[in-house]
Amino acid sequence: MNAFLATVRRDLLLALRRKSEVLTAVFFFVIVTSLFPLGIGPEPVLLKKIAPGILWVAALLATLLGLPRLFSADHVDGTLEQMALSPSPLGLLVAGKILAHWLLCGLPLVLLAPILGLQFDLDASTLGILTLALLLGTPLLSLIGAIGAALTLGVRGGGVLLALLVLPLYIPALIFGAGAVEAHSAGLGAGGHLSLLAAMLALAGFFAPWATTAALRVALE
């Protein structure tokens, strides 16, 4: 457990020493969501309807931006090999890195979503559901993305390939995440969608660090 916390702390510290990288993804999220009303036109009814989808797709892309950095720097300077050789299990360290990635790339998006939702004229309860769905969904995105990041580590054209591998796997999270908000707006209740999202998060939380570790070991061979 110490090793886990130490990895989280180290990754957070490294990221905070170089704030621009973290902030780039956050501003990307803000700018992409603001582009849609400009492109589609300021029609409040339409914007209200498509807001959850836009926020989710933007969150997806913003998470994707941070993924290549998850392992590449550590791979280049050899830290990753030391981690694989260390006495504490690599899976635990990987889980720590994924948590740190979520705290840096996922959590800011969750916190910003209610403010950006106001741009789309969403009411308070809808904003609450949207934030809750993102809170459950963004860790899922980080977990699935970590598998892709580990698979494409040190591969030619890794960035584009990463998007090709990871985006299809993101589709279920997108459907249920945006679906929760739409179901709530339609008066159906978001419980079912949120439960499914939480179930996927629980499954991914168990399996993803494990698959990521296997992929990293392949990359390090």
């Binding site: 698979l151 591969v155 890794g158 390939l161 591998l165 698959a211 392949v218 990359a219 061979e221």
Partner: protein, 223 residues
């Protein structure tokens, strides 16, 4: 072995096509347009089944570190992608006259599309990694992660009440279709099976020869 599978594929294919075009009766509600299902259903079955077989070989390759399993997975992927594309394409051709739209965002269609993307991702990942052993292992992990999608496609018509109709063929009750239609579909399914096996075996032979090109026996075999 390969010529036998080719012969079987052609015989079953010709028989299946003959039944599906000339013997099977015109559907009461859908008219002649329903005949596309004789290609659509077997292609969809194969696209899911090939993925399962691919994931099986991938898992075997990871667990036992056998070399041919990775090659089998690599050889199956293009055929699987072809089947998924065929299934989506024939589905679109069927959907236009029946539903009035080429494409609807229904759970089964969407998950089949994801399956197609998974095949493409698998092939892209394998193509991007130069070292074949590493490519096999990385692809195997991806294939195993993606296998979650198969039950979702298969049960999507039961779990979500959407536009795509439920399955007409069940093991435990009489199929809700005419006998000749069933025969046509089964023959076409067999033809698709034989074709997939023949093509996968041919491709795996080419992959083995390519990877072992530095060895003596390949030089003899090619001569």
């Amino acid at each position: 072995m390969i010529p036998w599978f080719w012969a079987a594929a052609i015989i079953f294919g010709v028989g299946g096509l003959w039944i599906s075009f000339f013997v099977a009766p015109t559907d009461a509600q859908q008219g002649e347009g329903y005949r596309i299902i004789f290609v659509h259903v077997p292609a969809s079955w194969m696209s899911m089944f090939i993925y399962l077989v691919m994931a099986f070989w991938a898992g075997l390759g990871l667990a036992l570190n056998t070399r041919v399993s990775g090659m089998m997975a690599q050889a199956l992927a293009p055929t699987g992608a072809l089947m998924a594309a065929l299934s989506l394409w024939t589905g679109a051709l069927w959907g236009k006259p029946m539903w009035g739209a080429w494409w609807v965002w229904d759970a089964r269609l969407t998950s089949e599309l994801i399956l197609f993307f998974l095949y493409l991702g698998f092939m892209a990942l394998q193509a991007a990694i130069d070292d074949p052993r590493r490519a096999d292992k990385a692809g195997a992990i991806l294939a195993l992660v993606g296998v979650v999608n198969i039950p979702i496609i298969y049960f999507s018509v039961k779990w979500w009440n959407t536009l795509h109709q439920g399955s007409t063929i069940n093991l435990n009750k009489a199929p809700s279709m005419a006998q000749t239609m069933l025969w046509g579909m089964l023959l076409m399914a067999l033809a698709f099976w034989m074709y997939s096996i023949a093509v996968a075996l041919m491709r795996v032979r080419a992959i083995i020869l390519e990877r072992e090109r530095h060895t003596e026996w390949v030089k003899h075999a090619v001569e």
